[in-house]
Symmetry: C2
Subunit: 211 residues, 2 copies
């Protein structure tokens, strides 16, 4: 009986990790697991594991533990619904290309529908089975296909310019590789940032400043 009043972001961010470890256990044929075993494997505490699962009503059995396949299913259901999220890619440069093949081959729960760019020389060429369209087609495309998610693999400025249109056209979530901070101007939007530059900088800070 899932009772998710409002699940906090730290909990949500841990769900994929639980899911990965559970997939692994399931594959290995492990059938049950306790919160403390799971915690040890994942480098966290049993308390946190139980607290996390209880955000969704609790999936275990007192005295027994958790059934791996049940738990795996429950979290899978939380993460993915029956129908995958229809998705568009904006920007087909090096990163956009790598990401599109990642989405097509290694990701679940997403359906990549179309790719857009501005560079005349790539328009009409093929990418992961799609024909790259000009960004001027975006509005029309969204009106007919109402995609859920936009993947932004474009420069900061382009992202800033495009954001209001995408929001207006009903995009619900952004997978944002650009350096534009969508959340500042659109605090309500669902944004998952992958800021490679920021990631590198904090890594470099830590390596440079280790005692």
């Amino acid at each position: 009986m899932p009772s998710q009043g409002k699940v906090s972001l730290p909990v949500i961010k841990r769900l994929p990790k639980y899911y990965r470890y559970l997939s692994e256990m399931k594959q290995k044929g492990v059938t049950k697991v306790s919160s403390s075993e799971l915690a040890r494997m994942m480098g966290t505490t049993a308390s946190q594991v139980r607290q996390d699962f209880n955000c969704f009503g609790g999936f275990g059995q007192q005295g027994i533990g958790y059934e791996v396949s049940r738990l795996h299913n429950e979290i899978g259901t939380l993460l993915f619904k029956e129908n995958s999220l229809s998705t568009i890619l904006i920007g087909t440069g090096r990163l956009g290309t790598a990401i599109s093949s990642y989405l097509n081959n290694d990701a679940r729960g997403y359906r990549l529908l179309a790719a857009f760019d501005v560079k005349e020389e790539v328009i009409g060429t093929e990418l992961c089975g799609m024909t790259i369209q000009h960004i001027d087609n975006l509005r029309e495309f969204c009106k007919s296909n109402s995609p859920d998610v936009a993947v932004l693999c474009i420069p900061k400025l382009s992202a800033k310019q495009l954001a209001p249109t995408l929001v207006e056209l009903g995009i619900k979530g952004f997978w944002n590789f650009s350096h534009y901070d969508l959340t500042v101007e659109y605090p309500g939007m669902i944004v998952e940032n992958v800021h490679l530059g920021d990631s590198l900088m904090s890594l470099s800070y830590r390596v440079n400043n280790l005692e």
Copy 2:
């Protein structure tokens, strides 16, 4: 007078964002900024901005505010040192390829020295000016060049197998794109994770479960 006793991870993770906004301001010719202006731009609070800067001794002037170029420099110095971090790439698939060109063209503070793979057909071919080497050369290479950072663009299992070697060979920091959780087995190591799969899953959770 930087007095960084031990700076917390949340603070470190915000430094790149400060740096980005300050670069932008500097470029626009803005010379001074107050904590509250900076906060408004970045979507945080003035209090947090001042607290953050004071982890490093404080860069401002009471009654006046912060000098943009000074602040930009100070944070730049924290993030990057004179000599860039020598870096090796493990795994030259689609993602590895995209990442190597990102490191070479769009990143500061890193020097990509070598790329390794196991696939015979790519060994000896060229990537971003480097000749892809067989992973068997890794040990020898590290002994002569003692790289600081390893970028992992390989599958989970390979990462798990390779990790002890890399740690033993003196790698200080990992930019980890693999799904192997290094931090579980090496809690002391500096690891910056970019888990694209996890990122997609938490995005999908949020889009699927918005009220």
